[in-house]
Amino acid sequence: MEVTRTRVDDLRVRQLKAQQMLRGELAGKDLEEFVEERLLFTRFETAQNWARKNCLFPLGFGLACCAIEMITVIGSPRNDLARFGAEAIRFTPRQADLLILSGRVSIKMAPIIRRLYDQMLEPKWVISMGACASSAGMFNNYAVVAGADKFLPIDVYVPGCPPRPEALIYGIMKLQDKIMGTPGMGWRERYQAYGTEEKPEGTGVA
């Protein structure tokens, strides 16, 4: 019983202290202690980015098979996006932040996607989900635009055909890191794998 009583006392003490601070009655060392315990200092951009990354509004936009996996991510209780705060899907681009391009981009659809992207307000991010949106995927032919990065700036590419829901969630987490400004280690840094880069002039095999 003592334990709960001290906890209740502790809570009560804290409440009284907070009341005193609000009334302006705390001063000197008490005030400094209070501030050190409660307040957190950060830069404005960091706070802003933290708010933005935890509250992404995806645009409800699905093109082809990857859209099924995207709806599974949004709608299935097993892997869902609500745990990241991104469950509020907005169907109008004016209110959305995040365009998840899921599916193959055909030449008829490309100008429409560009229009949707232009209608979104800053700040906005694009995740290219699946192989068909990142490059041509397996459809390297007349009807598919080989990668949406021909007409849109893309932030994160998620490979797979279709990517597993866990892969898409990993992509969204990487986007969140990018929004925070700490884009995360590339694989070369993680595995200390320097020394095998290719020469940029394309000198080739010989």
């Binding site: 093109l63 098979c65 859209a67 099924i68 209780p77 599916g103 008829k108 007349y142």
Partner: protein, 427 residues
């Protein structure tokens, strides 16, 4: 009907959203004469889609509205056209399976099955019975998954959002089974020409039986949610009616045709892949409205569960792919001992098997209707023409008939219950 044809507007002009057109004096047949003061004086032609929450994919519907009533709708498609049929002409037969799978992207096993059946007809090879039963089990599981997704998104469009979570949750159970048998959740390359790619792992049968035990209770939960719900009944009963003769004329097949009362099901009419060994019923509706389509799909899920259980009960022993080494890869342990197996493996992997010249058309009953695959072979290792007769492509032609003179909300319910899959429509 209206004289103004929205498609007479030039293509680039039509990319703009709205046109207005003054209406004629006399009221349109089918609606009562409206009093002078209440008359709407314009016909509004707007675009619904291609980016729209309620179209199942990128479907653009050019609707002519008079107030809230839809007078005419023209579906415009082609926004996901990927040239799959042309790409298949450049690939070996077993590689073409992966292309064809991505057409109707919710019913991937059916696409692969139609293609494999057509190629097996051309090659004139027999599929072993174990492979046939495994194919049936996987196809029926895929039918269940596809119908669940249709309920989930269809109910979402009509407004019952809870169904989305439940449908996706149960669909995840089926995808787990697929992942266990083939490694991928969607677009598994499990069906190969001559059988299936590999045998089911131990424990799959057990897990599938557990799923079959759980699923009927889940179906009853869905019915508790929706079936006695007044809002659902008012939205779906009596809306989107199409008559049986009109459906037959338009070539509509699948649950839409069965909802109008015509019991045409390819699994019963021209049984393929040992469907004749199974005992199941074909649910048929009465009126041809949205509610009947919904109920037909629910009952089809029940029948599919029965088929899966029977397939597991009667699963014969034996090889899971044909023994013809010119078509199917030899098992790996033979590669160490037999020179011929090595040569066959090499030829199959590098060049692929050759198919003697001919043409074949094979049809399966997919969750949306008759899915047919037409393959022309010219003797080389690549098909000369692959065409897939997609059920959604043909079913979409019935949308103007269903939607004429109905409210927009009923029209959206029609699209939801029509269940088009745009990957198949556009190929």
């Amino acid at each position: 009907m209206t004289d103004f044809d929205p498609t007479s507007v030039p293509y680039r002009e039509r990319e703009r959203s709205v046109t207005m057109e003054p209406m004629r004096e006399e009221p349109v047949s089918g609606t009562e004469a409206i009093a002078e003061g209440d008359r709407h004086d314009e016909l509004l032609t707007i675009n619904i889609g291609p980016h729209h929450p309620a179209t199942h994919g990128v479907l653009r519907l050019l609707t002519t509205l008079e107030g809230e009533v839809v007078r005419d709708v023209k579906p415009i498609i082609g926004y996901v056209h990927t040239g799959i049929e042309k790409s298949c002409e450049d690939q070996q037969y077993w590689k073409a399976i992966t292309f064809v799978e991505r057409m109707d992207y919710l019913a991937y096993y059916f696409n692969a099955m139609a293609f494999c059946m057509a190629v097996e007809k051309l090659l004139d090879i027999e599929v072993p019975p174990r492979a046939q039963y495994l194919r049936v089990a996987h196809m029926e599981l895929n039918r269940i998954a596809s119908h669940l997704f249709a309920f989930a998104t269809g109910a979402l469009d009509i407004g019952a959002v809870t169904m989305l979570w439940w449908g996706c949750r149960d669909r995840d159970l089926v995808l787990d089974l697929f992942e266990m048998s083939s490694g991928q959740r969607m677009h598994t390359r499990y069906f190969q020409v001559g059988g299936v790619m590999e045998d089911i792992p131990p424990g799959w049968e057990q897990k599938t039986r557990e799923f079959c035990k759980v699923m009927p209770q889940r179906l009853d939960q869905y019915l508790d949610l929706l079936d006695r719900n007044e809002i659902w009944m008012r939205r779906t009963k009596g809306t989107g009616i199409i008559s049986q003769e009109r459906a037959l004329e338009l070539g509509v097949t699948g649950p839409l045709l069965r909802a109008t009362g015509h019991p045409w099901d390819l699994r019963k009419a021209t049984p393929y892949s040992s469907y004749e060994h199974f005992d199941f019923d074909v649910p048929v509706g009465i009126h041809g409205d949205n509610y009947d389509r919904f109920k037909v799909r629910i009952e089809e899920v029940r029948e599919s569960i029965k088929i899966v259980e029977q397939a597991l009960d009667g699963l014969p022993e034996g090889p899971w792919i044909t023994d013809n080494r010119k078509v199917a890869l030899p098992p790996r342990h033979e590669l160490a001992t037999s020179m011929e197996a090595l040569i066959h493996h090499f030829k199959l992997v590098t060049e692929g098997f050759r198919v003697p010249p001919g043409e074949a058309y094979a049809a399966v009953e997919s969750p949306r209707g008759e899915l047919g695959c037409f393959v022309v072979a010219d003797g080389s290792a690549k098909p000369a023409r692959v065409h897939v007769r997609d059920p959604s492509f043909v079913n979409l032609q019935s949308l103007p008939d269903m939607a004429r003179d109905s409210l927009i909300a009923d029209f959206i319910a029609c699209v939801a219950m029509l269940d088009p899959i745009l990957g198949g429509v556009d190929r």
